[in-house]
């Protein structure tokens, strides 16, 4: 318990620290700008929420003797993620992301049983990914002699034509792509999300996954910069195509799942496709990167809420399968409401977070028509189609929870909610789905966006 309190203090303390000033001198290599301050707030907030949630959930799903280990490893994971976000050094990023990954493997494995295999699978894939990354960094070092991101940015432009640099870019892309489960490099992900303890699913799908996406964005835009992508013809549209296919395939795979957590995992594959699409569109339209960054937060909030609701169903009734969900809306009204709200947000019903992302990305794709011509209309179509597919798999769940009459099996089931410490984080996230969604539409986040986009070399959008 003391660990829990300690963590709480740490979390709240750090947030205050960020609020104090934009550029605290954290040693030479640690740089905090608009972008990573934003991501830092996001992951620390979510890990705070997750730790609140995990207390009861872990008691239920993990053996008691492992509790201390769980919280210790959990903290290491958060520390590793923070490190990745804050560091300004490419090699340091490698070290810290190893810390984050290793702890993630351990957390998944803590559930035992099938989770061990999932974790092993993740371990193998993750190690391959990180090797790719390391090789990429190695190439860069051999060409430029520097590992500092700011330095690299200055040293690279004359070398854009160099095959070594281009290979390094591809390696880094693949490496971090595996880590952040970009389609088609996602194969480790569904099993890990499904068999991990619920609290771990929450934290991995939000904090860890988003950290690696951040790392990818950071490397692409701060180290290689947009000029490189523009000079390396075809790479941007290739990313878009892969992302578009990923969005559709992820959604279709989600539709065929019966296990709720597995369905959510595949939906993550598709949602990360949104982010990838945003990145791919960014050379032609600043709205693309904005959409990607916005979806980073939006998806974390929505998925966190959905996974914690799924965890609550398991906690209370041991329900994994969507087909057994009849009448849950009556039995657990608040959890179901939170789930519904987050699901609507995933579908993109206004004024939720998902809607804001969709707006940004569609507009980005429309602007990209000037360069990609008709392919960009296809991307618009993909975005729109995917929201319909989201509807199909989420509505199945909602319909079962609320509207399908269940045969009276063991009559007289009373309303019985999840414990408060699980419920509160969930409701907080659910309400954020709407609040943040509205915030994205207002000019309120404008200074943040300007700062973050400026750092990444994208012309300010609005």
């Amino acid at each position: 318990m003391s660990i829990f309190i300690l963590h709480h203090v740490l979390t709240v303390g750090t947030i205050h620290y960020w609020l104090g000033g934009w550029r605290p001198p954290w040693g030479i290599e640690y740089v905090v700008d608009g972008l990573n301050a934003y991501v830092l707030v996001l992951i620390l907030f979510l890990s705070f929420v997750a730790v609140l949630y995990s207390k009861r959930s872990v008691e239920h799903e993990v053996e008691e003797r492992k509790h201390v280990a769980f919280y210790t490893v959990f903290q290491l994971l958060v520390a590793g993620c923070c490190g990745v976000v804050l560091t300004g050094d490419a090699f340091n990023m490698y070290v810290l992301s190893e810390i984050a990954s290793l702890t993630a493997y351990a957390l998944i494995a803590i559930a035992g049983g099938r989770a061990l295999r999932a974790s092993y699978n993740y371990l193998v894939m993750g190690s391959i990914g990180i090797c790719f990354y390391l090789l990429g960094i190695g190439f860069l070092y051999s060409v430029t002699g520097s590992l500092n991101m700011g330095d690299l940015r200055i040293l690279l432009p004359p070398l854009y034509g160099n095959k070594m640099v281009q290979t390094a870019f591809i390696f880094v892309l693949i490496g971090l792509g595996i880590k952040s489960a970009f389609f088609p490099l996602h194969i480790w992900q569904p099993n890990s999300y499904t068999y991990a303890p619920s609290a771990v699913s929450v934290i991995i799908s939000t904090v860890a996954a988003k950290t690696f996406i951040y790392a990818l964005i950071r490397i692409i835009f701060s180290v290689f910069t947009l000029d490189f992508i523009r000079s390396y013809v075809g790479v941007d549209i290739a990313i878009c195509w892969i992302a578009a296919i990923g969005i559709i395939v992820g959604s279709v795979l989600a539709i065929v799942q019966h296990n709720l957590k597995r369905m959510l995992a595949y939906s993550s594959v598709s949602q990360i496709g949104y982010i990838a699409l945003g990145i791919g569109l960014s050379p032609t339209s600043g709205w693309g990167l904005l959409g990607a960054l916005a979806h980073l937060a939006n998806h974390a909030i929505m998925k966190g809420c959905l996974f914690s609701a799924a965890g609550a169903f398991i906690y209370k009734y041991n329900l994994w399968d969507i087909r057994d969900f009849e009448g849950l809306g009556k039995k657990m009204p608040y959890v179901s409401a939170a789930f519904t709200l987050a699901a609507l947000s995933m579908i993109g019903v206004p004024p939720s977070t998902g809607f804001a992302t969709k707006l940004f990305l569609i507009y980005a794709a429309l602007q990209a028509t000037e360069i990609f011509s008709s392919a960009a209309y296809l991307f618009v179509g993909v975005l729109l189609l995917s929201s319909l597919l989201n509807l199909v798999y989420f509505w199945r769940v909602i319909e079962r929870m609320y509207f399908v009459k269940r045969e009276e099996r063991n009559g007289g089931e009373r309303e019985s909610e999840a414990p408060l410490s699980m419920l509160l984080p969930m409701l907080l996230l659910a309400s954020l789905c709407v609040v943040v969604g509205i915030l994205w539409l207002t000019p309120m986040p404008l200074p943040l966006i300007k700062d973050a986009l400026f750092e990444l070399g994208v012309e300010a959008v609005p």
């Binding site: 609507l344 019903v349 206004p350 004024p351 809607f355 969709k358 707006l359 940004f360 569609i362 507009y363 429309l366 602007q367 618009v380 729109l384 189609l385 929201s387 319909l388 509807l391 509505w395 319909e399 609320y402 509207f403 399908v404 009459k405 994205w440 539409l441 207002t442 000019p443 404008l446 966006i449 959008v461 609005p462």
Partner: protein
């Protein structure tokens, strides 16, 4: 331009009522009290905007500026929006009373969910009426779609659930088309505001883009139930009758029609609509829309004749009547638009009367099919009288107000025939369609009246007792029937009572819609 909070306040009424309804789950009287209080407050607020609009002003209220430059999330009340807002808010009060009677007599389950969803749906409908641009409209449009779903599947039977699925299968993809069209409009012009006479910058876009965009908008407004994408509406009739009455005769479907008129008159503009070719030289956008509407009017009426379930027959009649409105706008002449705008409130009042009567018959006798209704006119004389008035109105026969809107539509069709470039045969085509459709209206409404009043129920020899629906239900349907007549008297005799405002509003709206582009 007047900057006022009133639109926001009006919207807040149902928005505040909705959570209150949930809170008072266990106390039905207080719960329904909130619904009705919100309805009255909202109607008063909407009404208070009438004098300002009549002076030719426009009320605007900007909620906030969005990240997209040139698009604010805000409200703009002009005459046309106000007509729709007035119709839905006044009918909401009546239907709320009616719902109380209906739900309690049938001892329905999940009444809290019902009233909650109803309030949210009205929130969406009023939002659509008052919104200043396409983006705002889209937000409320989706809210309306989602909030109606629990109402459609209220029964929770297998049939209701599949109706709900069908409802979503049609309307959410339609929302997707709408969203694309909104973003495309923004991409092309840099604004999505409703502008009198159309957005000028849209005219410079390529022809093909404009055609595709228009059909995306049309797909987006599937709520207008134009054929062949209409089948969600008859299926949705499994909902409780007040839902069918207010939402599927007024708020939801009218939102679709309202949207189409908005697109025709305030986004594309009359001029552009008649300039853009779909097929070279033969078919302009306006004509294409008119053809779709004309097709729907005739075919839907033929379908209606074949229905035995009263509510389904009314649903097909709604589909046909909605296309009157679309046709009116598509004629692109002032008289046509005038008829279309008038038909929105008038059809609302008449159709709601018919649905309320259908519901009252179900509550009292349990009968849903027309073939079983022999002798209902004797047991429920007042209800059937109201029904008869509504049916007369639908067919364009006095003493109900359907006559007037149809008169203007016919005038519009004639005027369009006078435009010289058009081919000879088209001159009277649409006039013919309107008249034929009205004739078909008669064909399917009069058998109902005949069965109810003049057919003897089988086997029942003894004197039937008069047995009316509960007062909660009877009074609203009487009011709507009476208003259907008052509207007409008002127009002919110039009585100048309250309802005269509708005509004045329509005049202003027509003037706005057809005024030439000011650049």
């Amino acid at each position: 331009m007047v900057e006022l909070m009133t639109p926001l306040l009006a919207l807040l009424c149902p928005a505040v009522a909705a959570p209150l309804i949930l809170l008072f789950d266990k106390k039905p009287n207080i719960r329904e009290g909130w619904t009705i209080a919100a309805g009255i407050a909202m109607f008063a607020l909407v009404l208070s905007m009438v004098p300002v609009i009549l002076q030719g002003e426009v009320i605007t209220y900007t909620f906030f500026q969005t990240l997209f430059e040139g698009v604010a999330f805000g409200f703009k009340v002009d005459a046309f929006g106000l007509i729709f807002a007035l119709t839905s808010s006044s009918l909401w009060i009546l239907v709320s009373f009616y719902s109380v009677g209906y739900m309690r007599s049938l001892e329905e389950h999940a009444q809290t969910r019902y009233f909650f969803s109803f309030a949210v749906a009205i929130f969406g409908a009023i939002g659509i009426a008052l919104s200043a641009n396409l983006l705002t409209m889209f937000v409320f449009y989706e809210i309306l779609t989602v909030s109606t779903y629990p109402l459609v599947i209220h029964d929770q039977s297998r049939e209701a659930l599949s109706a709900g699925r069908k409802y979503f299968a049609y309307l959410l993809p339609s929302g997707v088309f709408f969203l694309f069209a909104v973003m495309m409009t923004y991409y092309l012009t840099g604004t999505t505001d409703f502008t009198n006479g159309g957005i000028p910058a849209l005219g410079s876009a390529p022809q093909l883009t404009l055609v595709v965009l228009f059909f995306c908008f049309l797909m987006g407004f599937l709520k207008a139930a134009w054929m062949p994408f209409h089948s969600w509406l008859p299926t949705a009739m499994v909902a409780p009758t007040p839902v069918s009455a207010l939402l599927h005769a007024v708020a939801v479907v009218k939102a679709g029609v309202f949207g189409i008129v908005r697109i025709v008159c305030y986004i594309y503009g009359v001029e552009l609509m008649s300039k853009v070719d779909v097929i070279n030289g033969y078919l302009t956008l306006g004509l294409a829309l008119a053809c779709i509407a004309g097709f729907t009017m005739i075919v839907a009426n033929l379908f209606a004749i074949a229905q035995d379930n009263l509510k389904r027959r009314l649903a097909y009649s709604t589909i046909s009547q909605l296309s009157y409105i679309i046709l009116g706008a598509a004629l692109l002449v002032p008289d046509g638009i005038r008829g279309a705008m008038m038909h929105i409130p008038f059809h609302g009042f008449m159709k709601i009367t018919l649905f309320l009567c259908a519901g009252a018959i179900t509550v009292v006798t349990g009968k849903k099919n027309i073939s079983e209704m022999a002798g209902v006119g004797k047991t429920m004389p007042r209800t059937m009288l109201a029904f008869t008035i509504g049916a007369f109105g639908m067919s364009g026969i006095p003493p109900a107000v359907g006559l007037i809107s149809k008169w203007f539509l016919c005038q519009g069709a004639l005027k369009m025939g006078e435009i010289p470039e058009l081919l000879e045969a088209r001159e009277i085509l649409f006039l013919f369609i309107i008249l034929a459709a009205s004739l078909l209206d008669v064909v399917y409404f009069f058998p109902i009246i005949h069965t109810a009043f003049f057919k003897e129920p089988e086997g029942a020899e003894q004197e039937v007792e008069v047995q009316e629906a509960p007062l909660f239900m009877l009074i609203p349907l009487t009011i709507t029937a009476v208003f259907s007549i008052i509207f007409l008297l008002d127009f002919i005799l110039r009585l100048n009572i309250l309802s005269m405002y509708i005509y004045k509003l329509v005049e202003i709206a027509v003037e706005n819609a057809t005024q030439p582009l000011v650049i």
